[in-house]
Structures are given as C-alpha cells and as structure tokens.
C-alpha cells in the first residue's frame, strides 16, 4: 500500500533502491545512495552488498544515521574496512554490478559532468570526479541520480567527468572500459532508461505533468523500443515499509 505523503527525495531513494537487484554488489558514494542501499538490503535485496571507495564493505544497514560513507555507524559491524585500492580492484576486474552517480549535467548518452559548468559567461567550479569517473568507466551498470532541473539536461556536457554511451550508438565504443555504462537516470520527476545508449523515459513520478517535465530537455526524449516509442509507466510510490525504513535511516530528513 502506498503512503500518501512523502518527499520527492524519498521517492528518489525508493526508485534508486529498486535498481539494486538481490545479490548485487553496489558501489555506493555520497548522499541519497547511502540511504538507497540501506533500503534495498533491508527489503528486496537482502543478499546485496555495498562497497564504498573509502574501503568499507557492508552487508546490512548502519545502525544509526550516516552523513558520509565514513561515519562510524557505517564502519561499525561492517564486513570489511580496508582501503580504496581493494575496492577499486573489485570495480576494475568487473566484480561491481551497479554503481551510483550524481551529476550537475547529463546529456542524451548519459555523459555526466561534476567538474565545471557554464553559467552565462562564467565557469563555475564544482568539486570534481571523486570516484565517479572510475565508476562510470567500470561498473557493470550505473544509475544516475539528480534533481530535475532544466539546466542539468544538456545537448553536450561542459566536461565529461563520467563517460556514458557513445553518441553513434556504438554503446560503450567510446572507451575500452569494462563497464556497461548508464542504465537508469532517476530524477525528482521521472525515471529514465537507456536504449542503444540513448536516454529514454521509463516512468513518470506520481503527480508529475509529463509534457512539462519533458520540456526540460533540449531534445525530444524518446520512450524506447530502440529508440522510438514504448510504454511509459508511473513510478511506484514508496511503500509504508519503505518510508518507515527511510525515516529510520535518515530520521531528521537530512538527505531526504
């Protein structure tokens, strides 16, 4: 049964968690994915594991709120607390099934920019890649998360921090990385997939006006079968159980 009141970010967490399959090893970074993994492993994906580039490996939720992957509740009772090269080795040798990425800008092929954006004549410096470039290159698939704002959807990102698919439909032909590239984009208004390397609309969040939402993109977003039109659903609302868990993991709504 769906709850009646939830925040857009709670829905994003629920939608992101749904992208983790049972048995997956998930590469988790900052912000919402911190909550999404805990939700997934507590519900439909009990045998999933999370790896964090700080060196942490976990098989269950933290017993306390975490601002960052290195907060003590995330280290306490972890499976392993090791170093980054151990985690990046798993990623590079192909043992990470899914990785989460944020972004200030995304283009039609899932290229992400978290390094520097243009605002009129000025360039604004952002924090940079962190592990995003590595996850984008090497995770089995990636799930992108970002607030739904028109300025974030661009024909061409100002800087390719995290490479997506090739513009020519050759999939990941733009680089020799072992990863499968972007598989989903979850915004605060809709969830998108990728078909032949191009972003398509998969589901619209409840209560969102589809046409107005799509107008935020500078190109005509397709709805798939490869890559014309296909079915578009409504994103499931977070269940009561999910909301209860999300609010346990993030009691003050710091991230959500």
């Amino acid at each position: 049964m769906a709850s009646e009141t939830y925040t857009p970010r709670e829905l994003m967490v629920s939608a992101a968690a749904a992208e983790i399959e049972d048995g997956d090893t998930a590469f988790v970074g900052m912000r919402l994915p911190l909550i999404a993994f805990q939700l997934a492993v507590s519900t439909h994906a009990p045998d999933s594991m999370a790896v964090y580039e700080s060196g942490v490996v976990r098989d269950g939720p933290a017993d306390g709120f975490i601002h960052t992957m290195c907060d003590l509740p995330n280290l306490n009772h972890a499976v392993s607390t090791t170093g980054m090269l151990d985690i990046m080795s798993r990623l590079q040798r192909g043992d990470v099934d899914v990785g989460f990425l944020g972004g200030a800008e995304v283009d039609r092929y899932g290229n992400l920019n978290t390094t520097r954006v243009r605002a009129g004549d000025e360039e604004i410096r952002l924090p940079g890649s962190g592990g995003a470039c590595d996850i984008a290159c090497m995770a089995g698939r990636t799930v992108l998360l970002m607030p739904h704002e028109p300025r974030r959807f661009v024909e061409e990102v100002n800087y390719v921090t995290s490479p997506g698919h090739s513009a020519d439909g050759s999939g990941r032909g733009n680089h020799p990385a072992p990863g499968g590239g972007p598989d989903a984009l979850v915004t605060s208004k809709a969830t998108f997939g990728f078909a032949d390397g191009e972003l398509f609309l998969r589901s619209v969040h409840p209560g969102v006006d589809r046409e107005a939402m799509l107008a935020d993109f500078p190109w005509a977003v397709r709805t798939a079968p490869e890559i014309g039109e296909g079915p578009v659903t409504t994103t499931p609302e977070p269940t009561d159980e999910e909301l209860e868990l999300i609010r346990t993991f993030d009691p003050d709504g710091f991230w959500t």
């Binding site: 992957m69 003590l72 170093g83 470039c133 090497m138 020799p176």
Partner: protein
C-alpha cells in the same frame, strides 16, 4: 631510520617547509588530520601542493588560509554540504593550479610511487575529460592482448600526513577502520608525519603486528594529538561532527567570512587543546564494539 618523536604538534609540523607537496585526507572522510593542517596554516607554511582523493574540507580551509598554490585531487568540497567556497573561488579566480584526478587515478599514482615503478596501467579514465584534458596521463597498448589502457605516472609527495589511533614513539602505527589511500601514499611519500590519538609503548604495537599499517622507517615525525581529526570521525574514538561541517559551509562563502572563521578556529587558538575547548558537541562513542580476540605466540 626511526621517526624522531616530536614534543609538540608545532614541532612536528615545523619540519614541513613551504613549497612542499603534501598528501593528506587519505582515508577520505575518516580520520582527516585537521589539527596538523591548521598548524600548517598557523605557521604560515605556504606554496603547498596538496595531493589527495576526495578532500572533505581540509583542502578548502588551507586554500582559504592562502597556504596552497596547487591541488592534485579528485574532489574538493564539503561532503555534508557540497561546495567548498574557498576552493571554488580560488579556481575561478585562477588563484591555484588544479590537476583533475579521479579517486582511482590518485590512488594508482601514489601506488606507483609506493611500488617504485614509473607508472601503472588502468582501464579507467579513457573516454573522460579527466583523461582528455590532462597532460598527466598517457595512452598505452597492452603488449599481450592489444588492449588499450591509460597509464598513470607515479606521484611521490614530499610529505604524507596521516592521523591514526595509536603509534609507538619510533613511528610504528596501528590504524583501523577504513584507510582509503593511506597505504599507497605513505609508501610513495619521502616523509610521513603521523598524528595519533595515543602514543603507546612499542609492546602494544608488537602485540598485534598484523594491525601495523605503517612502520617506522617510513615515518619522519610522530606526535600525540588527541582529537586531531575533529570534525572528522576516528573509529573507536569519536564520531563525525556534522554540525561543524554545516556551520563551516554557512560561514565561509566569502573570503572575509572565511577569514573570520579562521580567526576563531585556526589563528585564534594556540593548540588543539584550546581548539577542542571551543567545540560544543558530544561525539563520544556510546556503543563500543570490542574486536574479537586475536592471539599470536609461539
């Protein structure tokens, strides 16, 4: 070949000259050596090249203090709040030189240094502007199967600064919780400064040699520095002071505002003890987990 124990943090940090390249913040958001960083600023050490993976606030603070001319890092900001304003302003005004990395490329560059090889190959980077816009990396071809790889050259910092739970006076160090890229950075660095929650008898270290993360011949200075990583957390010692990160974010969006912040928290305190007197937060461990017993012997 052992560390020279330092009487005070000031003594230890004074061994790092202006113009040094310094790798720090190596365990990511865990155990960041803020105390040593603030002491660098107090001593007026400048023209530093900072090297690290993600930097949660410390790089931003040192940039704000005018100590930095170059950054080689993957991410500089405030993990609780996003932007680091001093970093952003310095880049946008060309106040510092930035070499963009991914976390893995910093890790590999330091691993190459630690391993004593000129470079290491990776399957990451290619296809990104981290690679394309950089003068640092090279493209290579695997001579065995013809696969394309990116080659990451070694980085050998003059100094690595590490905060740890306990160290012997000679410089043998026990470290637990996640370690990020502490290991490759310590191996690659010419000198290592260790600040420790506790300086302990060598027998404590010798009781558990598999816990030893750093050995003395890599260490130039070791100093006891309780709370030396605040506001970052230290496993077994204290939690993260998230409010401090948020307060910093709210208080440093202009240089003038930052200067005021630094007058209070960096320049306005003489040492870590005075600093901690100003911190108003209960970060103590309320649910200790004791590691299962391990024995050696013969």
């Amino acid at each position: 070949m052992s560390a020279e124990p330092a009487e005070t943090l000031s003594d230890a940090v004074s061994r790092i000259p202006s113009g040094s390249s310094v790798a720090t913040g190596l365990a990511l958001e865990h155990a960041i050596p803020f105390a040593a960083g603030h002491e660098l600023a107090r001593q007026g050490t400048d023209d530093l090249t900072l090297i690290g993976p993600i930097s949660d606030l410390l790089f931003d603070q040192l940039i704000g203090c005018g100590a930095v001319s170059r950054v080689r890092a993957a991410w500089v900001g405030n993990v609780s709040a996003g932007t680091g304003y001093r970093f952003r302003e310095a880049v946008e005004s060309d106040g510092i030189d930035v070499e963009n990395h991914s976390n893995f490329s910093v890790a590999l560059a330091l691993r190459a240094g630690a391993l004593g090889v000129p470079y290491l190959p990776t399957r990451s980077l290619l296809g990104s502007d981290v690679f394309a816009e950089s003068d640092l990396f090279e493209r290579g071809t695997d001579p065995f199967d013809g696969e394309e790889v990116a080659l990451v050259p070694a980085i050998e910092p003059d100094w690595a600064i590490v905060h740890a739970q306990r160290a012997s006076p000679e410089g043998d160090v026990h470290l637990w919780g996640n370690t990020g890229i502490v290991d490759p950075a310590v191996g690659a660095a010419e000198n290592v400064l260790v600040t420790a929650e506790e300086v302990v008898e060598p027998a404590v270290i010798h009781s558990d040699p598999s816990r030893t993360a750093i050995t003395r011949e890599q260490v130039s200075a070791v100093v006891e520095c309780p709370w030396g990583a605040h506001p970052s957390p230290v496993a077994g010692h204290y939690n993260r002071d998230n409010e401090y990160y948020l307060a910093y974010h709210g208080a440093t969006d202009t240089q003038a505002a930052f200067d005021e912040w630094a007058d209070e928290w960096v320049y306005g305190v003489e040492d870590r003890e005075e600093y901690m007197e100003r911190v108003d937060a209960d970060l103590s461990i309320t649910e200790p987990t004791v590691a299962a017993e391990v024995r050696y012997g013969q």
